[in-house]
Each structure stands twice: as C-alpha cells, then as structure tokens.
Symmetry: C2
Subunit: 186 residues, 2 copies
C-alpha cells in the first residue's frame, strides 16, 4: 500500500507574478530515504466549455509563448481572490475573454492540471445557451480571438493538432462523460 | 487575427533538478505593450495507456506531495536524453514503473501539458496485449503500486475523483478518439 511521504522541511526558493517554487524535503515511508522535491504553487483555475444555442463550442485563439504558437483553447483562467467561488470565476473569465454569458451552468468536475510539478486544481464548467452580450474585456497583456466550432468540428481540431492544451483536453473528457449521462440537455 | 508576440529578451531566473524558470520580455503586436512572462522549461514527457489481453488498463498509485494525496494515474515520465525516441521512452517508463512490456504499440498523439506556464510536449501511447515480465525497477525516490482496472471501471474512477491527473485525462480523451476510429483493435 502506497503511503504519503512525511514532510521534513520546506521553503520558497523562487517567486514571480504567476507562481512560486517550493522546495520540500520528504521522507519516503518505504525506505526512509530523504529527497528534495520542487513544485509550483499556483492559483486554482477554471476552464469553461460554453455551447451556444446552436450547440457550437466557444473557443479562443491565443498566442502561447511557451510553445511559440497560436493555441486554440476553451476559455479559462486563474481564480482571483475576489471571486466568491470557482463558478463566479468561470462566469467572469467567460465574460472577460469572450463577451459571452450564460444562465445555464453545470459542473463538469475538478482535476489537477499536472500534480507531478504543480499544486493547483482546475474546475471545469459547462455553460449552455451561451450568448454574446458585449465585446471581450481584455487587459493589455491579452490578445484573444473567439471562434465558434461545431461539436464534430472540435473532434477534428483535436485530431489534427489545432487543439493541444492539456487542460482543454481534460475538460472535453469530463464533458463527454457529462453528455453521456445527460443526453436530454443536448 | 492573433499574431505571435515578439521576444525582446529572456533569461533563466531559477533552476532545480526538475525544471528551470525562464523570464521573457515580450512585445504585444496588438498594442505595442511590453510585458514580462515567466514559464517553466521542462523535459518532454510520455504517458502510456496499457491494456492487458483482458482489456484491463494498467494504472499506478503514487504519492503526489503537490496535492498531498495518493494519485491514481497511467504510467509515464520524462523523456531522458538517452531515450532514442518518445516511443522508446514510453517502453522504458512502462517497464520501469510496472514491469510490463508490450509488442503492440500505437501512437495516441501529442499535446501540451499546460502551455500557459510550461513548454513541454506530452506524447501519449497505447500499448495493447501488455504483459508482466518482471518486477518494477524503481529508484529510491519512487514508490508505486499497480492496479488493473476495466475500461468501464476507469470511467467510474474518473467520475468518483480517484483519477484527477490532467495528463492522464487528456490521454484518455485521445484514447477514446483512437478507439472510435479503430474498433477492430478492441
């Protein structure tokens, strides 16, 4: 039976606006070996699969310098301290990034973006009957463009490599399970 | 049309055994604003969905200090410099973490684990007719246990929150698409 490792000590070795790096010395319960691990402390995030009345998925094109390409993704972002709940953060991010709103929200579930190196939880939501109410409200560091894509089109765009964001893919798996369980909504 | 941002300068602000943090000053082509971004430089990784002859999925239980819980995942890890290819890395990781091998490998596709903050690519593979050939070959910092789970059981374990690793979830979405396209293999 795998057991939790015991924490000996830890400190923050680096910080920037986006994350901190924590070093932690852990003791393996299996063999009493101590080892230093490093991981990111990050804010939890939200990801939104928003479908219009026509069942088109709202996606955003965004330049990702990390991979030096325009990435096609579902809207999302970090939960701010001022967001009362993950759902409120999802509503805010959808409105800011796309100008769309919805009165019909569903929880798709939570997952960990990458628990090998980061501590954050991602909350996935489904917004149905999403409709455009305003222009996006982007800050100076954001440059996004929206595209509506049919559900079969989403499969094509994943398979042809247009959609490669792991969090978007994980959200679509949660969405597939939700859709199978709730066919009356689609 | 969203355009790539222009890099002004960059440097490495932090490094540990697992990753480095790169700061990059970028110029937005939309509004000529310069902004510093920070992201992780990480090795590319592999993730393996291995099915036995009985169509059971090979999973591993592993303590993840980042989220302080035992995480249920598909096998995987970083590609070493000594791995001739991502497929070789997948074969090595599967053998080391579980003691299983396979002669029947398929490419499920690639994705980016989290392009908002890290640069690495994840290569997902499917191994069919996987069979146990040896005990796992774990180093002192690893403590894993394997569990074979049926395909319907995997859905349950995702839905009940046992499986929360974003890379594992993204791999399962790729697997679902592969299964639909290649029903004769299942």
């Amino acid at each position: 039976m795998v057991k939790p490792w015991k924490e000996i000590d830890s400190d923050i070795e680096y910080s920037c606006n986006w994350f901190s790096v924590q070093r932690t010395r852990l003791l393996s319960p299996k063999n009493n070996v101590e080892h230093n691990f490093h991981h990111l402390l990050q804010h939890d995030c939200v990801n939104i699969i928003a479908l219009t009345e026509k069942k088109e998925v709202l996606t955003v094109h965004q330049y990702r310098h990390t991979i030096d390409r325009i990435s096609l993704e579902t809207p999302g972002g970090v939960i701010d301290a001022s967001d009362p709940s993950p759902l409120d953060a999802a509503k805010r991010e959808l409105r800011e990034e796309t100008g769309y709103i919805s009165d019909n929200w569903h929880v798709l579930g939570t997952f960990h973006a990458n628990p090998a190196v980061m501590n954050n939880t991602c909350h996935s939501f489904l917004a149905l009957q999403a409709r455009k109410m305003a222009d996006p409200d982007l800050d100076l560091t954001e440059d996004l463009e929206t595209e509506l894509i049919s559900l079969p089109g989403i499969v094509d765009r994943i398979e042809n490599g247009d959609i490669t964001h792991g969090i978007t893919l994980a959200s679509f798996l949660k969405f597939e399970f939700f859709r199978i369980k709730n066919p009356e909504l689609f």
